[in-house]
């Protein structure tokens, strides 16, 4: 993998747009730079995945997965709702391009390509949804699950077994 100048320019474009988007969503000033950073990382993963010849859908999935993970970590660190970073960071992967191309080819009466882009749009939306779903449920399990109880119980049981063996 090589990081070229054009890639750096593109990522700074993602940073700028996500920063602007978080202003558009009325995010308070102290959080907009972090939101921009999340967006830039999402853009970086997306571009890198495309560089490795992965398809649009898989690139969107990986990007959304990274963004969701970082959003959850940032939300824990800065004690804010996850949505703050998630909504802004997810934007570069939202299939606006597919939507436009679908309409464009419909108007050109090219049904095959219009259908292709419609399915691609739905696939990307689904991939984003799955990525958020996955990370959310993992963090929920980590937070709400009784890991300590499970662990301690296990230990206690082992101890009691040892005692009984003696």
């Amino acid at each position: 993998m090589e990081i070229t100048l054009s890639m750096i320019i593109k990522i700074s474009g993602a940073f700028l747009s996500i920063l602007a988007f978080s202003i558009y969503l009325e995010t308070p000033g102290k959080h907009i730079l972090k939101a921009g950073l999340v967006g830039a990382i999402g853009g970086f993963v997306y571009l890198t995945a495309l560089q490795f010849q992965k398809g649009d859908v898989l690139a969107s999935f990986l990007s959304a997965l990274t963004v969701a993970l970082i959003s959850h970590i940032f939300a824990r660190i800065y004690k804010t709702p996850v949505t703050l970073f998630l909504v802004a960071g997810i934007l570069p992967t939202v299939p606006g391009a597919g939507m436009y191309r679908m309409v464009y080819f419909l108007l050109l009466e090219d049904e095959t390509k219009a259908g292709y882009y419609m399915i691609q749009t739905l696939e990307i939306a689904g991939a984003i949804a799955l990525a958020i779903f996955l990370i959310d449920s993992i963090f929920r399990a980590a937070q709400k699950g009784n890991w300590k109880d499970l662990f301690l119980k296990h230990k206690l049981e082992r101890k009691s077994k040892k005692v009984s063996l003696k």
């Binding site: 320019i9 558009y24 308070p28 949505t83 391009a97 939507m99 108007l107």
Partner: protein
């Protein structure tokens, strides 16, 4: 403790969060925790869907208090969600009293940024995405110009009190129309990049994200409603772009 005021405070907090685009479960959770600061509770339940709030509180040997609130206007406003979150945390942690919490909730600012900053942000989103999608300097400048035109469309729509659906159609129509208009004068603009970057402020990213998070919590009604919202926004953008291309495209392309 004043039970009526407690209910009023919880309902206000819920209303602000729901109208600012918070997830349904977050609204329910916040109101539930606030109501449960009362003593001798027999019953305290909150039921929230995307378009309204119902809550009821029964204290032992007292009358039941119930609230139904309909939330009509929804937009995304992260600042208001954050503020309510911190106020409810402070109240539930017994750092501030109920009266303080209520007066703080009524004083939350509607907007953090001025109208001008908001419009500049829209232009910034368009321009940034033109760079991200790999446009050259000409494309980026053209996208900024389309962004300025988009803010004009948004302002006109706000003045005329358009419904959200019509507003989206109008905005994307303006984008397609003006992009193709620019293309007529500057032949080497990449029309794909300009239009795709310019519709990014309109795409339903917020709706998709919230739909997933609501469904995950088991709030299927709100989840479905938000998915429908996302589809409607997408359809509006598609119709607008299509109309824009039809209106002027034959002359230029």
């Amino acid at each position: 403790m004043d039970k009526q005021l407690l209910m009023k405070t919880a309902a206000l907090a819920g209303e602000i969060m729901l109208s600012s685009g918070a997830e349904t479960y977050r609204v329910e959770n916040t109101m539930y925790l606030m109501l449960h600061t009362a003593e001798n509770i027999e019953l305290a339940e909150v039921f929230v869907i995307m378009t309204g709030i119902t809550a009821t509180l029964k204290i032992q040997n007292e009358d039941t208090i119930s609230v139904v609130k309909r939330v009509n206007n929804r937009s995304t406003n992260m600042n208001r969600i954050l503020e309510v979150n911190s106020i409810s945390r402070a109240y539930c942690g017994k750092e501030i009293s109920l009266d303080e919490a209520y007066s703080k909730l009524t004083k939350i600012k509607r907007r953090v940024y001025s109208n001008l900053e908001n419009r500049l942000a829209v232009i910034g989103i368009c321009t940034g995405f033109a760079i991200f999608f790999g446009g050259d300097i000409g494309d980026v400048l053209a996208t900024s110009a389309v962004g300025v035109f988009l803010t004009l469309c948004i302002t006109i729509g706000e003045k005329l009190h358009f419904q959200p659906f019509l507003q989206n159609v109008f905005n994307s129509f303006g984008i397609a129309f003006f992009s193709i208009f620019l293309r007529a004068f500057f032949a080497n603009i990449n029309l794909d990049i300009v239009i795709i970057s310019s519709i990014m402020p309109l795409v339903p990213g917020v709706a998709i994200t919230n739909a997933v998070r609501d469904s995950l919590q088991g709030d299927y009604i709100s989840g479905c409603a938000r998915i429908l919202e996302a589809f409607l926004i997408a359809a509006a953008i598609a119709i607008g772009i299509g109309l824009g291309i039809l209106s002027i495209g034959n002359i230029v392309i």
